[in-house]
Structures are given as structure tokens and as C-alpha cells.
Subunit: 345 residues, 2 copies
Amino acid sequence: MAEPQTVPVDVLEDRVRKIFEKSGVRPESAAAVAHVIVAGERDNCKSHGIYRIEGCLRVLAAGKVEPDAVPEIFDQGKSVIEVDAKGGFSNPAFFAAKDTLVKRAHETGIAALVIRDCLHFSALWHDVETLAEDGLAALSMCPSYAFVAPAGGTKPLLGTNPFAFGWPRVDGHPYVFDFATSVAARGEIELHRRAGTPIPEGWAIDKDGNPTTDPDAALEGAMLTFGAHKGSAISTMIELLSGAMLGEFMSKEALDFMGRTDLLPRHGALVLALDPQTFAARSGRDPLAEGEKILTAIGAQGARLPSQRRFQARDKAMVNGIALTDSELAQLDRFEAQGLDALNG
Amino acid sequence: MAEPQTVPVDVLEDRVRKIFEKSGVRPESAAAVAHVIVAGERDNCKSHGIYRIEGCLRVLAAGKVEPDAVPEIFDQGKSVIEVDAKGGFSNPAFFAAKDTLVKRAHETGIAALVIRDCLHFSALWHDVETLAEDGLAALSMCPSYAFVAPAGGTKPLLGTNPFAFGWPRVDGHPYVFDFATSVAARGEIELHRRAGTPIPEGWAIDKDGNPTTDPDAALEGAMLTFGAHKGSAISTMIELLSGAMLGEFMSKEALDFMGRTDLLPRHGALVLALDPQTFAARSGRDPLAEGEKILTAIGAQGARLPSQRRFQARDKAMVNGIALTDSELAQLDRFEAQGLDALNG
């Protein structure tokens, strides 16, 4: 078997953009989607890297995402900005509204971005990191598919509901976390199923609500939240704030709408941006210098900050390029030549 | 032993108010503190009920809280409102600024309240619940004392950092959660120490960073966060957003400032208020009716919503009064007659 080849980040981004254009996505949206997918690959975050291309092409082929959607911004000059993705991918909508969100957060101290009606496949860390690079603290959350039971419950109702936070650092990469509020990802249970190994206790319950370590029973039953009732409460908050509050789908409705679980979900998302300089102004302290104190102290204990491995992979990829296997490169060739037709190959 | 006596809620609130006035607290502040303490007792939330009176009197006696502080509001008409508690209790500061926060959130969709330099002893649920009663979704968080190690760390750095959320419901009590981001409360470890029983695994590490079930070793070492690295990330976020971002103490500095652990901490707090009607307006959906769907579905699974037991206790107390033991009543008598002098008795 050949050694993995390395591809420069910008070259890979260009290839992925062409794949989406070939698949009928309008150029601006193709560029946004390619940027975020390659950011995942660059960070060695393989579950959100080029692996996602096929899933995106499948929703395009199924007609469940609008390839021509032009995001529309609604801004009444207040602290809530809305962008309607109009059934398109979430990323072009975020990029379209980002500058307005940043400007407003700096003006008023805190601003919210509502993303409506988007096909959501990407990790949230990209959005909060982008805002942190503009000097803002940011929170982001969204529903997903109803695969998770609430604490004390027996049936799927909540999504794996990711929760992300970003904080600007004085030097180098921001403090960023982004995690599912389920104890594990659904894909991890699937991997155990294929390997014929039991899943750890505490990951899931069967269809009758009993604890199970059998991956088949877990997939028929429900996953559990991290942190028992506390994680369940946070996951419920995410359904309320980024589903009900926006008048967008919660995880159960997202699943009902798509009617199948093998396509990426369509729903909304909520992003909050806070300007530390506004919040700290009256204190006379520098909020970012203050933040460094605790972040440095965490590192001094030998503890790892979230996203640290991702940033290390990124720094390496920016210099050396991204290592891809022959089979990954062959798939890119096929997608680039055939677009959606490659799915039938 | 005599049966517990029941005291009407308003009668108890009046007694507690008099205790704080007798102890030198200005009348408006005494009323605010009494209201929140009796709300805890009413909800059978004993750890934040009249048990707290003695702790509050001790910080007054130690001169570590300003009894005469008049909260000052700074409002520039933007989305961040500040109230300086001026070293007084947090509750009068929150009550002083609450109406401005509510008004601003309704006007702009989202608003933040910064509470500066307050003595903080109360649960956060009271604040988010109050805002939910005005139709707002609300988040609240604050640091505390550095008793908790970050995930992968060995030394205390984070506080038990509570995180609270409120969501208005169409009928009846709001959806409210409020929990420490440590896996257990420090008081629970103390109870094990007194009883001579081991603490559960996963609660704490000893001073060398090794897991321990010995309560003495745990109290000398560090507590752990709920939900492993995810809970640790959330606790760090709370340090950044409600400490560093406000230019107020983080948990380590709060502990250094007070110089001892038996007094309640002084720091800031952050409250976010979001108006669901503003966020949902363009969707044509009723956000509160949407929220009912998931909250009802959780209940239909037989799962308990957070705060449910508290609301049941409240409903009962509002009709029957609050049951207090002879020794609790005797302590109230003593505090009421002697104020701070009762501490020397």
C-alpha cells in the first residue's frame, strides 16, 4: 500500500469546492461548505472532514437540501439578527450573516444570530472559533435527530444536541469546546455493532427503557445524555433555545420531517456573541488578560484544554499539508468527475 | 419532641427581614435577602433556606459584606445592563436591575445583566424563575470558591460554579434547572466526613491528584466536575463568562480575597435574558406552545422535570405554611432578639 499523500489545505479546499459545484450547488455556497469541510479535515477531525462530502451529496441527490438557496438576512438593527438559509446548507448562511453579528455584538455588547431552515452537517466549533478570532466570546447550539432519551425517560426525544463555546486568547488559538450532549456519538455505537463488541454501560437503553450494552438493542432503543440529569437538562435547554424559541424544528420534528435517519437533519441554530471589552469596561480590567490566568493555570496542571489536539493537527497541516489515503483521493477524483452520479457507482 | 409548627410564608419572610434589619442591613436589602431565603425554605430547598441566615450574619459580623450598600445601575440603553452591588448582597442588586433587564430584553430580543461585586449566597433558580415569569428565557451563572480541579488536572482551580436556566411555560411553573457543575456539593463531602463514611468514587481527588473516597483527603484535595471533560469545559466557560469577562473575580481570586473558606464568597454574576416572542416572530409559530411539546413529552415518559419537587413543596407551603422544627424556631427567636450578638451565644 502506498504512503498517504499530502495535499496543501488550499488545494484540497479548491477540489472540494469543485465537487459541490459539479453537484449543482451555487458557487458561493459550494465555497462555504468546502471551507468548513476542509477545516475539519485539516484539524484531523475526521468525522467532520471529507468523510462528510458523501453525506452532503446524498441529501442533494434526495432533493432534501436546496442547492441554489441564497441566504437572506433580516436585521432590524436590534440585538437579534436572523438569516434564513432557505433550506440550503447552514455554512453559507452563517458566513452571510457573520459580519453583521460581529458588528452588532461590538456595538451593543451582546447579539444573537438565528439561522433558520438549514441543512446542518458541520461541527459548531468552526462558527464559535471564527467569532473568537474577532475578539468575541461565542456560544452555539442546535438540535439534531431525536435519538436520545431524557434522564429518567425510556424513549428517544432529545437530539445529540451539540453545545459549543469560544473565547478569544491573547496569543494563539482561542479556547474552544464543542461536544454532543449525548454520552457518545451514534457513530460510535454503530462501530461497536460492526465489530460485534458490547458498548460501555451508561451509553444507552433498549426499546423498553432498560440499560443495555448490546449495540443493536441500543440503536433500537435510545442513547443517554452525558452527566445524567444535568446533561439531560442542558440538552432540553438546547431543544428549547435553538428549536422552540426560534420557531424551528426540535429534534423529534426534524426526524419526522426527513422521515429517515440516514440523511443529515434540517433545523435551525442559535449563535450568541458577547463582546468581553464591553462587559469588562467599567471594571478597569482587561478581560482577555484575566482569562489567560485560568487557561494558563489549567495547562500548568498538566491538563489539556479542549481542542488542543485539533489545533496541533492544524498547525502541522498548514505547514505540511493534509495527509490523505489513496482511497480518499480516489473518492475525491470520482466525486469531482461525476458529481452526484458518483453515488450510483 | 413537639410536632413541627407551620408558619405562613409571608409571616416567615417578615421575621427573616427583621433579623437582617436588626443586624444592621438597610431595610430594602433586608427585604430582598429575606424574600430569597424564605423562597428556598418554602420550596423545601433546605440548603438555601433559613439555614443560610447564620452564614449571612457571619459575613456581616466579619465585615466582609456592606450592610448599607445601595446598588447602582449603569444603563447606556444598549443590551448590557450593569448593577454594582457595592459589596452588598447580590439579591437587592438583582431586584434593583430586574425591571430594566426585562424591558430591554423585550425591546432588543436579548439582554445581559452584569452584577458586580456582590456577596453571593443564594441559588440562581430564583433569578431565572423570576425572569421566566415575565415571559423570558434566562440563563444565569457565577463563579464561587476554587474547590474543583479541571478534568485531567490535580489541584483546585474551578468553583462549584452553578448554571441555571429558566423557560416560561404556558400554564403553571416554568421549566427551571439550577445545578452545581461539580459532581457533588462540598457540604455533601462534609456530611460523609462527619458520618465517617466514604464518598462515592468520582467525587474527588486527594492533594496529590489521585482518586479518593476518603472525605478528609477529598477536602484537602479537590472536587471533580460532573460529566468529566464536558462538565469541566462548562465550568471553565462559567469562570470566563461570569468572572474574567466581567472583570470580576474568578473562583481562585474570590477565595484569595476572602482568605478563608467558612465565609460566603464575593464575586460577580451574569444573567442573560432572551425574549422568545422576538426570536420566533418571523417563524409564525408560538415558541411557548412549541416548548410545551417537548416538556409534555418528557413528562409523558414518566421522567421528572427539574425543579418539580421544589414546585410541589411550594404549592403545599403556599396553602399550609412552612413546617419548622422547635430548634429552627428557637434560632429565629434568638436572631430576631439579638441580631449579630446571637453569633456569640
